[in-house]
């Protein structure tokens, strides 16, 4: 009898075990769910994950040297780049052979500009030497070392060869080292010369200014969000439109408007001079510096702070404040002990949003930032479109991503990520 009931409970009607048939039916459901999200998944994969992935691999990918100068790299293996002796004849011959192949394939400028990231002058060295090396006949086995050094005496410099050897590895940490103001040398990782150290400073400035901007957005946004959540529906809709109004104009226009406002002969300065607060000669420098960037970006990012705050505050019933007051709390205590803690998830969501947007902002610092108000993204943009050092740009981007994830983790530890609500 017991046997029967046990058997009965573990099997469905047709005799298959219960677990198996449950798993089967669940699998069907999962597949259906997967099919529903498949288009989005593919879209995200193709347009987002893949490009970012390939971009990030560029930050360590250095196969170009090995590909263009394969024999040279091989021959250089036995050479001691830390000594002060030039490589031997064999290395020079391999190099010239590689070089001629590269010229034929029109690849020689690529290797030149790759090495130019590390030592300036490399690009022109390769370009200039190519004109002569191109016509050399190597079949006569004549010594080639001296001949090359005569073409450009840089070839007789140990450092030139050391650079080639140091940067011949297929996967390099060089870009990341560069991104934090260091460099890959024959003697290991070393600090960049003082005058080239800009990136760490830029990182710190980016973080600091993003924090300030986030803080300003909290200060300015909180009362607005509170008003929005507590006014009657009609007025709050009107106010909401005012908050969203900036989204209807182009970012470029808004930023340029700040330029008009803040520049030396701009509206603010004119006004201050007119009411006599400052004299004609002491007009304020409030643009093309950090101040300008902070003002303009706070304005542009403010809606991203207000909206999450508003949607959280909207869900806090006014009866909580009333309850607090009926229990004897003053307006301030009621706000601080009862209302504010419940609005923290909105502040959290807004802050994450604004901070992450700010840390990667580009257009506004570019336009109103001058030299000391630009962000790390401006540097990334420079390396992508002007210096074409995509490896460094990727390394900078990867570090930025890492910093954001790190801060996200810290936030989770301190505030708790489930304490973030968008409504």
């Amino acid at each position: 009898m017991l046997d029967y009931s046990e058997k009965y409970s573990m099997e469905v009607a047709d005799g298959t075990p219960l677990k198996k048939s449950l798993a089967r039916s669940l699998r069907k459901e999962k597949l259906r769910a997967l099919a529903l999200i498949a288009p989005l998944l593919i879209f995200v994969l193709v347009t987002f994950v893949l490009p970012i992935g390939t971009m990030l691999t560029r930050s360590i990918d250095n196969s170009i040297v090995e590909e263009i100068l394969p024999r040279t790299v091989l021959a250089l293996e036995d050479w001691n780049e830390k000594g002060d002796e030039l490589p031997n004849e064999m290395v020079f011959r391999s190099f010239v052979e590689d070089f001629q192949d590269a010229i034929a394939d029109k690849n020689h400028t690529k290797i030149g500009s790759r090495l130019n990231y590390e030592v300036s002058g490399m690009s022109s060295l390769f370009r200039k030497s190519a004109r002569k090396v191109k016509k050399w006949d190597l079949t006569d086995n004549a010594p080639i070392k001296q001949k090359l050094i005569e073409v450009n005496k840089a070839w007789g410099d140990v450092e030139t060869w050391a650079v080639i050897k140091t940067h011949s590895v297929a996967l390099t940490n060089g870009y990341f080292l560069n991104a934090v103001d260091m460099q890959r040398t024959p003697f290991g990782a070393q600090a960049q010369p003082e005058n080239k150290q800009v990136l760490v400073k830029l990182f710190i400035r980016t973080l600091k200014m993003s924090l300030i901007i986030t803080g300003m957005c909290i200060l300015l946004g909180y009362p607005v969000a509170w008003l929005l959540a507590n006014l009657s529906n009609r007025t709050s809709n009107l106010l909401l439109i005012l908050v969203l109004l900036p989204f209807w104009t182009s970012l470029l226009v808004r930023t340029s408007a700040w330029k008009v406002m803040l520049q030396n002969q701009g509206v603010i300065n004119d006004l201050l001079v007119w009411i006599g607060l400052i004299t004609e000669g002491s007009r304020l420098e409030i643009i093309n510096n950090q101040f300008g960037t902070i003002v303009a970006m706070t304005h542009i990012l403010l809606p991203f702070m207000i909206l999450p705050m508003y949607s959280v505050m909207k869900t806090i019933p006014p009866s909580y404040l009333r309850a607090a007051k009926s229990l004897g709390a003053t307006n301030w205590t009621a706000f601080w002990r009862v209302y504010f803690p419940q609005s923290v998830p909105g502040i959290g969501a807004g802050s994450i949003l604004v901070f992450i947007l700010a840390i990667g902002y580009y257009i506004t610092p570019e336009i109103v930032g001058g030299t000391d108000g630009i962000f790390i993204s401006n540097r990334i943009a420079y390396h992508i479109s002007s210096s074409l050092n995509w490896g460094l740009a990727s390394a900078l981007g990867a570090i930025l991503l890492g910093v954001v994830l790190l801060l996200y983790w810290v936030y989770d530890k301190i505030v708790g990520i489930d304490n973030v609500k968008l409504g």
């Binding site: 019933p317 009333r322 007051k325 009926s326 229990l327 004897g328 709390a329 003053t330 002990r337 419940q342």
Partner: protein, 366 residues
């Protein structure tokens, strides 16, 4: 006498009016005295201004006109947090980010009470509502009835003399509601606090209160003890609103100080208590409670009238029988009779004779 009354009233609404939009009055000329220790319920249909009155008393709305006095002192200009009035909200309004104990401790903290004293009071309040073991929980981890009790404890923990409750049991199921009704009245009487209670559930009002103020359209229609309210309604609104009621329409034929003879629209004449009728010839509605119709004609008093009607419907309801009769132009005259062994069961179509005592027929406004 007037002076005496002023002293007696712990809470006094003095000609209070309230308008939200400046066009219509939500509360029209409210006069209400509540003595200390009374359990007073404001009862009325939705939108009749009950919450508004409570909010004016608590200080969250200002009276457009008139004065509210607490213990003889006008509180019009005293902010809510200084009024020292406990309040239980309809949705409880327990602070979700605090534990139960922290919720209870809050009113004591804002009064700068010491830690040990706070803890003792919180514990006592929790024990009072039999929730002693729940201090460490968050409100979200409690059932509706438990939250309700915590809200009650929080409103009482700082020992206010006046506690306001706005439909505190609205969200509970019937059984729990009845249990809580009992607990609230027990606590209120034990502590000797004055309670102003808002509900639109008439059973709740009748079972809990010392007095009930029936609101309609911003006006108190009747203010009386529950039994008076049920048995001696002042006007047709109260008669209709409280309990089940039969209405017979007619015209006043003759009128003396203690008797009004009403000719019903169906042609019959009925002797009534003249409550809201002033002169002969006037239209009136006669109100009769369903259980007051007497089928046993031997039990009637001398001033009773006998009517004959036709049974339309007979419903067996367990403890009572409910019979719907058409009589005197009224198609849905209800008679309730107790289910006793010798009570006859009527069947539809049958003619039935029943009597109405004069004191049970109240001639009210049309």
């Amino acid at each position: 006498m007037a002076l005496d009354e002023t002293n007696n009233a712990f809470v006094r609404f003095d000609r209070v009016q309230k308008s939200y939009d400046g066009e219509s009055l939500v509360v029209k000329d409210l006069n209400l005295d509540i003595p200390k220790g009374e359990f007073l319920t404001m009862l009325g249909p939705s939108g009749s201004g009950k919450t508004t009155c409570l909010m004016m008393l608590a200080g969250f709305e200002t009276a457009t006109h008139g004065e509210i006095l607490l213990d003889g002192v006008s509180i019009n200009n005293i902010p809510p947090h200084k009024r020292g009035i406990g309040m239980v909200f309809q949705n409880y309004a327990l602070f979700p980010h605090m534990t139960v104990a922290e919720n209870l401790s809050f009113p004591l903290e804002v009064r700068n009470m010491g830690k040990s004293e706070r803890e003792a009071k919180v514990k006592r309040a929790l024990d009072m509502v039999e929730m002693g073991d729940f201090g460490g929980r968050r409100p979200a981890q409690l059932s509706g009835g438990q939250q309700q009790r915590i809200a009650l404890a929080r409103a009482l923990v700082f020992e206010p003399e006046l506690v306001l409750m706005d439909e505190p049991l609205g969200a509970l199921d019937k059984q729990l509601r009845e249990k809580m009704q009992f607990e609230i009245t027990r606590l209120a009487h034990n502590l000797g606090i004055t309670v102003v209670y808002v509900t639109h559930d008439q059973t709740e009002a009748l079972t809990m209160s010392d007095r009930v103020a029936v609101f309609n359209d911003g006006v108190i229609q009747q203010l009386a003890r529950p039994d008076m309210l049920y048995e001696r309604p002042d006007n047709s609104f109260v008669a209709q609103f409280i309990g089940e009621n039969n209405t017979l329409e007619g015209t006043v034929k003759s009128l003396t100080d203690d008797t009004a003879v009403v000719e019903l629209d169906g042609g019959l004449q009925l002797q009534c208590e003249p409550i809201n009728v002033d002169n002969v010839g006037q239209r009136t509605r006669v109100s009769v409670r369903p259980e007051r119709a007497e089928l046993n004609l031997n039990n009637l008093s001398q001033d009773a009238c006998t009517l004959t009607g036709t049974v339309q419907e007979f419903i067996y309801m367990g403890d009572i029988f409910r019979t719907r009769i058409s009589v005197a132009g009224c198609d849905d005259f209800i008679i309730k009779t107790p289910n006793s062994p010798n009570q006859k069961r009527l069947s539809p179509g049958q003619n039935v004779k029943f009597g109405l005592n004069k004191k049970d027929c109240r001639a009210l406004d049309p």
